[in-house]
Symmetry: C4
Subunit: 122 residues, 4 copies
């Protein structure tokens, strides 16, 4: 079974310009989690939008068939790194349907955190 959509957008994005502790444990993990439930690999073009300059990209991302992948925005390097301490938005265009969830990960997975979102329905 394959479900999802080909186009996804996340307006909110921000990678901290500094950290309180040793890397990589305290590095910001702004991420998009992408699920590909189908039997074909997904090839995704990611474009990054900013407040005051032209968009960056496309960044090329592959999510294999029947796999899930975390896209950590601070690890993107080609065609350019995303600047730190700057707000950005992201637009994903995939050649097969996928599902995308926006998450700011805490590498320490604090037990006190509460998160919630309505799941994706079809």
């Amino acid at each position: 079974m394959i479900i999802g959509k080909n186009i996804w957008a996340i307006p909110e994005g921000y990678i901290t310009a500094w950290s309180n502790g040793p890397a990589p444990e305290f590095t910001s993990h702004e991420a998009a989690c992408i699920l590909n439930t189908g039997d074909a690999d997904a090839h995704i073009e990611l474009t990054i939008f900013f407040a005051d300059r032209e968009p960056a990209g496309p960044y090329l991302i592959e999510v294999k068939a029947r796999r899930t992948k975390h896209i950590r925005f601070n690890e993107l390097t080609e065609p350019e790194k995303i600047p730190l301490g700057t707000s950005y938005s992201s637009l994903f265009v995939s050649d097969v349907p996928v599902i995308s969830q926006h998450t700011r990960l805490d590498s320490r997975q604090s037990e006190n955190a509460l998160i919630t979102t309505i799941a994706y329905a079809e």
Copy 2:
């Protein structure tokens, strides 16, 4: 009245590999909360997707008519336990319409936590 959809997906999932305190109070409660507003029991097949291996499942879940149920991912055991410290995604396929919300529960329900999501509409 019965509302909802038959297929739901949650790309983001993670069960901590360790805890800071005595179980079960400090155990991670990554959960899907499923609401069945109809007059027929819902029979759900849950498939778990990973980054680097074939999916696990199906896990069989029942949500009775006019009932709600928390699916705690760390309590799933058949056909296999979900590995700890590993990112996963989940796909729910139900025989009747249901509504699913993704939540990481804090068993202590910290008063400081703020959560929000647009509700499911129909």
Copy 3:
């Protein structure tokens, strides 16, 4: 302009059975925020679903024309109070379109909290 939907559902709900400080500041504020953008008052029937008993309700709620309202679940009393320390789900059926957002409010509005959700689109 009037936008929204007539039926809304929130699978996740939980009112803490205890609190850490003096009421009402430290009381749990599990809430649904409902926006009525139209020129007619909204009359809403709220049903509460549980894991192991028949649903409660309907609770009758009015959101005036061009107004917003916070429904705090711990303040509902008719036809019965929602039990504390128990998971529940909620279903809203309105006679005019409204928009609903699920929020657990922190009465102290901690500056450290981060919340996010894609807004409701039409």
Copy 4:
């Protein structure tokens, strides 16, 4: 490529009436992040709804072509400032499709925070 919708609503909104530290670092950053992926500037009319008075606005907002913008509700001044310590809702009507995400920003971007939401799909 242009994606999105023309009408967006955020029922939940609250600007704290006080702060714990020096401004602007500890000022509340209740925000809507708006992404305009198209080649035409977006002209948006924002209306603010309250619990007990007529709506305020319209506030006029522009998001340039291929740009993203954070609308911080506490910075809106025309036609009137949004009162502090008061719940409000917001309605955005744009002349071109945009995508909106609701966020309460922490200016210190705490590494412990966990946020999540399903992205916008088309």
